[in-house]
Symmetry: C2
Subunit: 339 residues, 2 copies
């Protein structure tokens, strides 16, 4: 309203000049070190009041450049459209904020060229460290850490690497899910999966196999189904039809991922096989609506938020203590909803 020219923010220097003090003095009091520097209360008061009155905003760029720390971390996740990754992002952002850090975010789209280039962007921008859900064959890691970069992996660890990681206990949780089905009397339990070559998927399959073996049930490979494209309903249906044809008396279902559940639900319903609220089903991870649609399904709910939060803790710990936590792996247990 008032015809005032947009006042560009004043600097430490402006305050110093206006008050007839040195930049140093102003800097000390504004950074809360006035008392320890034994600056007179009167001066401190003048400075603080002036700063408040004129709404002084320190320039973090300058500060960061000066102290060599930016209080910024980079987050590099595979995707932001997948609720799984956006949950990680949510947790990372909120945990970082608690500790006074701001997060820069980028998505690799599971492309390792992009990943490498985005990591280097973060580097340029002098983030204090990065958190990444690594793609297959990330080759930037060594050069990044050799240059002094701090890094923690979230969700996936890279086999053979000693970069600190926060992961979910895929094998054990799958084991418990499948064991639960067995306890309920299931004997012919199908395993429905996708992208079965990914580390996490392998671990889930291992849990499935171990549960069967521990129960003395032979593994029937006809029951293990990998669908290439989850979003191709036809593919899913063909796989299911084939499965039902070969093993018509299957009595249990273990989904290695939530995304396979709904297509199966619909196809079964259409075929007249009522899912009975998911009794005899078990699923890794959940989707909004499952508790309504499939109240009887057993679920291993990944505490994704914990993955994100712990990753931040681990990273900031390293940053602030100058450590690197090589070889550390934090394993987050799933929250089990068993029947």
């Amino acid at each position: 309203m008032a015809a005032q020219t947009a006042k560009t923010n004043l600097s430490l220097n402006d305050i110093a000049e206006a008050l007839g003090l040195s930049k140093a003095t102003v800097s000390w009091v504004l950074s809360g070190k006035g008392d320890s520097r034994r600056i007179s209360p009167a001066t401190q008061k003048r400075v603080k009041e002036f700063a408040a009155k004129h709404n002084y905003q320190p320039n973090m760029l300058a500060r960061s450049l000066s102290i060599g720390r930016s209080k910024t971390i980079g987050l590099l996740i595979s995707s932001l459209s997948d609720p799984f990754y956006s949950s990680i992002a949510k947790a990372v952002v909120s945990q970082a904020e608690k500790q006074g850090y701001t997060v820069m975010i980028a998505t690799s789209e599971s492309d390792c060229k992009r990943e490498a280039s985005l990591v280097s962007t973060f580097s340029y921008r002098k983030v204090d460290g990065i958190i990444v859900t690594p793609t297959e064959g990330a080759d930037w890691v060594d050069s990044f850490t050799n240059a002094g970069g701090r890094l923690v992996f979230a969700d996936r660890a890279v086999p053979g690497s000693d970069i600190p990681s926060v992961v979910v206990d895929n094998e054990q949780s799958s084991y418990r899910l499948v064991s639960n089905l067995i306890e309920k009397g299931c004997r012919k339990i199908a395993m429905f999966t996708t992208a079965h070559n990914l580390v996490n998927m392998k671990a889930r399959q291992a849990g499935y196999v171990r549960a069967l073996e521990d129960a003395g049930i032979p593994v029937d490979t006809r029951l293990i189904r990998d669908v290439t494209s989850v979003y191709n309903q036809k593919m899913v249906e063909d796989e299911l039809d084939d499965l039902l044809r070969l093993v018509p008396d299957l009595d249990g279902f273990f989904f290695t991922t939530h995304v396979l559940v709904l297509p199966t639900y619909v196809h079964f319903t259409n075929r007249g096989i009522m899912p009975q609220g998911g009794a005899g089903w078990a699923c890794f991870h959940s989707l909004p609506g499952f508790e309504i649609l499939l109240p009887n399904m057993s679920i291993a709910r990944m505490s994704i938020e914990q993955v994100g939060a712990r990753a931040v803790d681990l990273l900031l710990e390293n940053i602030e203590n100058g450590t690197d936590a090589r070889g550390t792996t934090v394993t987050i247990n799933c929250e089990m909803k068993l029947h």
Copy 2:
């Protein structure tokens, strides 16, 4: 492996010294202005090779401080767990990246105190501009823009404000959804909503009302239902039961938001009212699984990605041209899936 000390990144100065040149010269060639500055090809070659060999990474902090631009934008959304907002984030991040900008992200959790404080964090950090999905009564706007800050609103505009905004055409899309139901013969169309005081919800209700009026159907307020807590299944059910009791012959359903659909679906199914794949239903926005569960439901699919992308375009345009686009409102139309 090699017992090499972590080589901290070299600076412009290091290069200059190593090559016996001035920082200026090095800076010119590395920033691609070597030719226009008429620096000898030989020198340019030496500099570039040296930089490449030693993997020189410019310090963006220093660069930003020097030129007064950070090539960074701030994104402040309500939440990251809601797919709607994470889609905005996705679009913003990818569009910004295309133009060489990095995004800092924060979530307001719809708390306007937090919002104000996070905006000011972005300010400190000297982002070139911010994109925000504003909460009710955002009071930081004037002081932010008066200080020269650039800003565009996404998803919601603030009534009475002339801050550039990118919004979805809530009223018109709702109108079309409801008109579609009417064309199909529905006459007693319930409207199921939540948080009906939010700008966007009001607009959707307005579209509903206008569609009815244009068709000469009187608005029956008993058909308009607002549920306070969407995640309280009991509340939703009570509201539905009450509705069915008062208007047992209702023949259509307009959901102002996708989150209300699944609870209704389940409750209806339990009550023996078959949703018939959503025939006679219309919904604002979608959820994964709807196309499978409710293939006959009409849907207004917000092009959220477009909202994010256009917001970035608008912001960067302003940043690079020094304009402010006051009063501009970009309206994104929904993609309609009608039956």
